[in-house]
């Protein structure tokens, strides 16, 4: 064989792994918002909830593959390889994000936390959604709400932008006031939640 450069290849592989990870994150925006933790063993994850329910789910595998022919290798440029890695990353991200949405959908439906009528993404729908969710306040400070992130398809997001563009000043003001009222309520809920966390006799 012709002398190879295994150490250099190791470094290239490392760089590709890094790129792959970054691309997975980029293509799975919802997933990238969630803090990750590594599991070192086992084949399932379980949660024992406050009410004693014990829910165990098997770990899901996300994988992808690509192949490169011998002929391709000779003429392949770095950008070709990157394109293949990128496709695989998108594939993996799609699987992971898909499973995440499935899980979220399932728990939202189980808890009845859906918006009736499945309205399109609009300022009103956002206010209804805000009403339904719990919001944390960093350092228990009213001025530091940890606002949720909207994850939407590109079409829905365009419509939301249209709504915003069409809104009059008065409508915008009304939205802001309604949102402020909701957030005041949320802060009260937050304080009540804190107060409810106690050790009793």
């Amino acid at each position: 064989m012709i002398t190879d450069f295994p150490e250099a290849k190791k470094e290239i592989r490392k760089a590709l792994d890094s790129i792959m990870r970054a691309q997975v994150k980029q293509n799975a925006p919802m997933l990238s918002l969630i803090g990750s933790k590594t599991l070192h063993e086992g084949d399932s994850m379980g949660v024992i909830y406050e009410d004693g329910r014990h829910v165990v789910d098997p770990l899901q595998r996300a994988e992808s593959q690509f192949s490169v022919s011998r002929e391709e290798i000779v003429t392949m440029k770095p950008e070709d390889l990157m394109a293949k890695v990128s496709t695989a990353a998108k594939d993996i991200a799609g699987q992971m994000e898909g499973y995440l949405f499935q899980t979220i959908d399932k728990s939202i439906e189980e808890s009845g936390n859906t918006i009736p009528g499945n309205p399109e993404l609009s300022p009103e729908a956002i206010l209804i959604a805000l009403e339904k969710i719990q919001i944390d306040f960093e350092d228990d400070d009213r001025s530091k709400p940890v606002m949720p992130t909207i994850v939407s398809g590109p079409g829905a997001f365009e419509k939301l932008k249209e709504h915003e563009a069409k809104a009059t000043k008065a409508e915008k003001l009304e939205f802001e006031e309604k949102q402020k009222a909701i957030m005041d309520g949320k802060f009260k809920e937050h304080l009540a939640n804190l107060a409810s966390r106690k050790l009793v006799d």
């Binding site: 409810s196 966390r197 050790l199």
Partner: protein
């Protein structure tokens, strides 16, 4: 009466070289456990082995052979020339031969067979002198000797038929025995290698006699792997390697239901090695303090971590002694020693709390010590909440006990190969047992103050599908379980939970040898959970 060590039937030149390399670099402490293992495997009944204590009687190892004849062995390291023979060795041999064996099961009136054993050579002029003495003053009880070649043959015998299966496994062994012994061992690689030798996962390997031979071979390989660490005087790493071997042996014992005759003697030898090596470390620190080990300016930032690595073994030793009512644990309270351990525990991850948790189990039982025990537990809670609680702004938080000191150092210095993106906010493995301990210590007011923040935490643990897998380094089957505490919790509920320990999640052999648990947890900190800590609490309550 003289025993000859037979030549091994199959000579594996690679293995022979590897054993040679290890044996030549070992001192008598390094090969003593394996020598004992060899004796046991060859029909000797081991009575004691005391090389690394200060009480020798000229006999490092005493055993009885099947003909009921007592044997006494004096172990030496390296070559014995005439000068060394006359100045150091012969006076000890006089005691070896002349002094009766002090052991309740050995008849003092019965003459014993005396052996000088060395992993080096005995020079010809010394042999001539021994011959003359054997024909003269020692003629009734002559001195026999085994040298390097005999030991090599003996140790090779132990590996017969249980050699690395392929070149890849050989490479693993070579990498492990040629490592820099001053650092942290690569536990994952050691585990992989030893599990192959022990056929840990193989159900088809049903012959119990073969299991016994596997254990003897694993003892040989573990001794070789620990060799560089022993040579470097890196006792903490040696202890961890031998602890790993013992937990794998326990696994096999429980899983394949091995009766005592197949493994108990091996356990006693390896346990003796773990215990005595930890004592050597303690002796070093108690004599010289930690500072003697810090010799270069490069140590500066690493000093707290190096201290931690050593003190975690010493605290495990103290708890182990406390469990079996060995008064040596009291050195922990010795006013001349206590200051040496000041700032010997660094906080770098959840596993770093282990020494404090061990110390707590002792201090709470000492008159006037309960306050310190409680304070330590409170410190852990406060650190956990600061680093992993809901208000934490730390990028990672305290890493779970799956990550060791070596990882923590690399993480803090940005030396990891890949970016570490994990975040452990809200999560903890040790919080639940710590809370339960404070409940047992009746710290209702403190927990009431902290509950608001504690209730946000998620208590993590790993629950293996098979109880025996608790003893393994990693297992594929099992649940990564998270428990969400109640927002509003009643004190009586907490008491009930703290007292609900049944012990049925712990492997039976681990419970049978509770003195091993502190060392097991030091090497396997991710196995510390409510159950095992409650078990330790219970047995130290007596």
């Amino acid at each position: 009466m003289e025993q000859n060590i037979k030549q091994p039937e199959i000579k594996d030149p690679f293995l022979q070289r590897a054993i040679e390399y290890w044996l030549d670099s070992a001192n008598e402490l390094g090969y003593q456990p394996l020598f004992c293992e060899w004796l046991v495997n060859n029909g000797y009944v081991l009575k004691y082995s005391i090389k690394n204590t200060h009480f020798e009687q000229g006999k490092d190892v005493v055993a009885v052979f099947s003909d009921d004849v007592p044997y006494a062995f004096q172990l030496k390291g390296g070559n014995i020339n005439l000068k060394r023979w006359r100045e150091e060795v012969k006076p000890e041999i006089d005691i070896l031969i002349g002094g009766a064996i002090q052991h309740p099961e050995i008849d003092k009136a019965k003459p014993h067979v005396s052996y000088l054993v060395t992993n080096g050579e005995i020079e010809d002029n010394v042999r001539v002198e021994i011959m003359a003495l054997n024909e003269g003053v020692w003629r009734r009880t002559p001195l026999h000797y085994w040298t390097r070649g005999d030991l090599l043959n003996g140790f090779q015998q132990m590996a017969e038929g249980i050699m690395p299966k392929d070149a890849k496994t050989y490479k693993k062994l070579i990498d492990l025995i040629f490592t820099d012994g001053t650092g942290f061992p690569d536990y994952s690689k050691i585990y992989d290698f030893l599990s192959e030798i022990l056929n840990v996962e193989s159900d088809s390997h049903t012959n119990k006699e073969q299991r016994r031979r596997d254990i003897a071979a694993a003892a040989l390989y573990a001794a070789m792997i620990a060799g560089p660490y022993r040579v470097a005087g890196n006792h903490a790493s040696t202890v961890r390697i031998m602890t790993m071997l013992l937990s794998m042996i326990f696994y096999i014992v429980d899983k394949y239901k091995l009766e005592d005759k197949y493994w108990l003697k091996s356990y006693e030898i390896i346990w003796g090695d773990v215990y005595n090596t930890a004592k050597l470390l303690e002796h070093e620190v108690n004599t010289d303090g930690f500072d003697k080990s810090f010799t270069t300016p490069l140590d500066t930032d690493l000093i707290p971590f190096r201290k931690h690595s050593a003190s975690s073994i010493i605290y495990a030793l103290k708890l182990s002694q406390f469990i079996v009512n060995d008064d040596d644990w009291k050195s922990l309270l010795d006013p001349s020693i206590v200051p040496k351990y000041k700032h010997s525990v660094a906080i770098w991850g959840e596993a770093s709390f282990l020494p404090l948790m061990m110390l707590t189990l002792i201090l709470r039982r000492v008159t006037g010590g309960e306050g310190s025990a409680i304070n330590q537990m409170k410190t852990i809670i406060s650190q956990m909440l600061t680093m992993n609680g809901r208000r934490s702004k730390h990028k990672v938080g305290l890493v779970p006990p799956y990550y060791d000191l070596d990882f923590a150092i690399k993480l803090s210095y940005g030396m990891l190969d890949v970016e570490f993106e994990d975040n452990y906010k809200y999560h903890s493995y040790y919080l639940k047992p710590v809370i339960e301990t404070l409940v047992r210590l009746n710290q209702q007011d403190f927990l009431a103050e902290q509950w608001q923040e504690l209730s946000f935490m998620r208590f993590d643990e790993f629950v293996p599908a098979d109880l025996n897998d608790f003893l393994l380094w990693r297992t594929e089957k099992g649940e990564n379980r998270t428990t969400l505490p109640k927002k509003e919790k009643s004190w009586s509920e907490l008491i009930q939970e703290a007292e609900s320990f049944k012990g049925d999640t712990l492997p039976p052999t681990l419970k049978r040898f509770p003195e091993f648990i502190p060392f097991f947890l030091t090497a396997f900190p991710f196995r510390l959970n409510s159950d095992i800590y409650s078990f330790l609490y219970k047995i130290t309550d007596k």
